[in-house]
Amino acid sequence: MKGGKRGLMLISSALSLSLLFGCAGGGQSSEPGSPETGEAGENAKTVISVTFRDDGIGENGAFYKWLKEVSASYPNPDVEIKPTPIQASEGDYFAKVALALKSTETAPDIVTEDTFILNSDASAGYLEPLDDRLQDWEDWNNGSFIEAMKKGVTASDGKVYGVPYNTDSRGLWYNKEIFKQVGLPEDWQPKSWEEVLNAARTIKEQAPDIVPIWMNMGKATGEATSMQTYEMLLYGTGERLYDDASGKWIIKSQGILDALGFVETVNKEGLGPPLSKVLNGQAGNTASREYLPQGKLAISLDGSWITGNYLETGAAPWPEYKDVLGFAPMPTSEGQPPGSITLAGGWALSIPSNSKNKDEAWEFIKYALNKDNTQKLVTSSGNITVRTDVAKDPGYTQMPFNEIATAYLQNADFRPSQEKYPEVSTQIQTMVEAVATGTSPQDAMNKYAQDVTRIVGADNVVEK
């Protein structure tokens, strides 16, 4: 009896110990993103892992399909391209990538980086500067890339950390059928904010069941609130987030008040969507995949990529979108020069510092982002191109809205390439949501000023 008890105890302690080491062993096994070489032997292939975001549709995603296609046609037989997607929301993707890039065990060989986080990841030392390699790449130096787009992949230290593969512009999507129904011009070109608001007022009066104008205004929509809504408004007043000359963040200004005033007017006059729909993480999709195609929304301040949803392969196929939708430029506040404004973002391919196959990765990037392959990617995903040669190609320009969206890039502005931007951006979202839910612009701006000062330090802020 006694012996039995002792045996039991021994077994259980052995089991708990094995559990302990079992866990430790588990931690050492290679992660999906880890670089590894193929089967040992004479024909060992170098495996290049490519990490990108999968928003939940897996192998049907545009990037996934494109990567499969490009790797199948990649002429180097010694290299195998391995997709290692990260399934995550946009916000979580950046955190997961940062964690993966920290270690040689988990870092992929190529990673897709949003230009908004690229500077932070570069400052963290996660990415490999590409300047030396770019010097010898003809495409980079012969004007094939739109010069302004190189700004988006250049970090604050002046070095280039990625090759851009797509970009986007922002403007006012509107439903021509609704416009016709309420007596507004089908070829709508508003010249000032007042004209935008007046159009919304007309729609509210004539078609009360339709949401006049949608802008993302919640914290839950993250960067979409900062960039598509607030920065489009703020930059339209002539103001900026960050004063490049003095190197300081602008925390109080008339421009901020005006931008918030627009948000206030939309909500006070009931021109926007119900707050329960817009202060919600799904708000962006609700607008582009439901309200707009179903004719329940007249104007949407959003990005050029939303048409990607309407393609046959998209999330909400809508073949009529070419005829029903219009894409008007977002005017400056009072129509002052340059007349309209857009912000551009976009994505790039970068090589992590912890990659073990940097040379092979670079060779693949050059191939994957040549003219033909870039064109395939942007047309299948509904994005716009960063290459001048693709922009001129009939295969690209025949896609609806591509030409307009690319043309808007002429006045494009970028988000400050400051590593504190992601944190400041969350304060912007808090500020915009506060105004949308009834706080006065003045109070919201004061709180923003306090919070940003806390984040960047009192020496790095300025009031205008």
Partner: protein, 296 residues
């Protein structure tokens, strides 16, 4: 004589054997519990970040993270929300409801107990995230609740937007009540029926039996249960994150959500760990209060 020798050997052996058998659990505690806490404590004094300049170079920043925490108005809001959520869903909701169900089920027939018990348990065995999705679709704008009330001619209510804290509190009550119910069931079954019968013979009213016999008898279970559900509820993240994301505004921003936002949305891991220590501190203080009240 021989018995004496055995007697002197016995304690000698057990001094070492208890240590030996304790070793695995101590090792597990050290690696998975003590070490992470010490590490968290250490990181809360650094500028540890997920990305940006700070990620390259770990620096000691002294009490900066703590100073920032006490200046940050959102921390105050989060502490308040955490307490509201805790008292509403755990201390009052789960405890009282769990107790009432257990009391009503006492001395009922087996079928009744089984059916009711299974229904209540369903909420508890459902994984947190599944539970969150169920209740999200229940309270959502086009959800079940609105479908029910509109069919009676009332107008739709945007529950998750108008009364977000109430919805997450109700969700947590639905999810967690079964635990309290089981604890109280076991405790109530232990109350000897002879004492109750004697009280009835003495002419005590039901209320008197309840307050003078049942409650004092199960007092220990009440405090233990209160402590357990409090600690469970303090750490609730998935339920709130999936239902409201801490919003709208900061109206359901509890400390775990705030910590997550700082660490993985703003990439400030150092600040995030400082907040997690605040959460740990609140947990310790509450546990001590419970333990003290148990001793009295």
């Amino acid at each position: 004589m021989s018995s004496l020798t055995i007697g002197s050997q016995k304690p000698k052996r057990s001094t070492y054997t208890w240590l030996f058998f304790l070793l695995p659990s101590v090792a597990i505690m050290l690696v998975f519990f003590i070490y992470p806490i010490l590490l968290t404590f250490f990181y809360s004094f650094t500028n540890l970040a997920l990305t940006g300049e700070a990620a390259r170079e770990l620096k000691f920043v002294g009490l900066d993270n703590y100073a920032r925490m006490f200046q940050d108005p959102t921390v105050k809001v989060s502490i308040w929300n955490t307490l509201v959520f805790l008292i509403g869903s755990a201390v009052i909701g789960q405890q009282v409801l769990g107790f009432l169900i257990a009391l009503l089920m006492k001395q009922r027939n087996r079928t009744f107990r089984r059916v009711i018990g299974t229904i209540v348990l369903a909420g508890w065995v459902t994984p947190e995230i599944v539970c969150a999705l169920c209740l999200y679709s229940f309270f959502g704008d086009d959800g079940t609740l609105n479908a029910i009330i509109t069919s009676f001619g009332f107008s739709e209510v945007t529950w998750l937007f108008t009364v977000p804290m109430l919805t997450v509190i109700l969700a947590n009550i639905w999810h967690g009540t079964a635990f309290s119910m089981m604890v109280f069931q076991a405790a109530l079954d232990d109350v000897p029926s002879e004492i109750e019968e004697a009280a009835v013979v003495d002419g005590a009213s039901k209320w008197k039996i309840f307050t003078s016999i049942i409650i004092p008898y199960i007092k220990g279970s009440i405090t233990t249960n209160a402590m357990l559900v409090t600690l469970q509820t303090l750490g609730v993240f998935g339920l709130i994150y999936a239902m409201t994301g801490g919003g709208p505004g900061n109206s359901t921003m509890t400390l775990p959500i705030f910590m997550y936002n700082q660490a993985f949305v703003n990439y400030q891991l150092g600040y995030g760990t400082a907040i997690s220590l605040l959460l740990l501190l609140i947990g310790i203080v509450l546990s001590l209060l419970y333990i003290r009240s148990m001793k009295e």
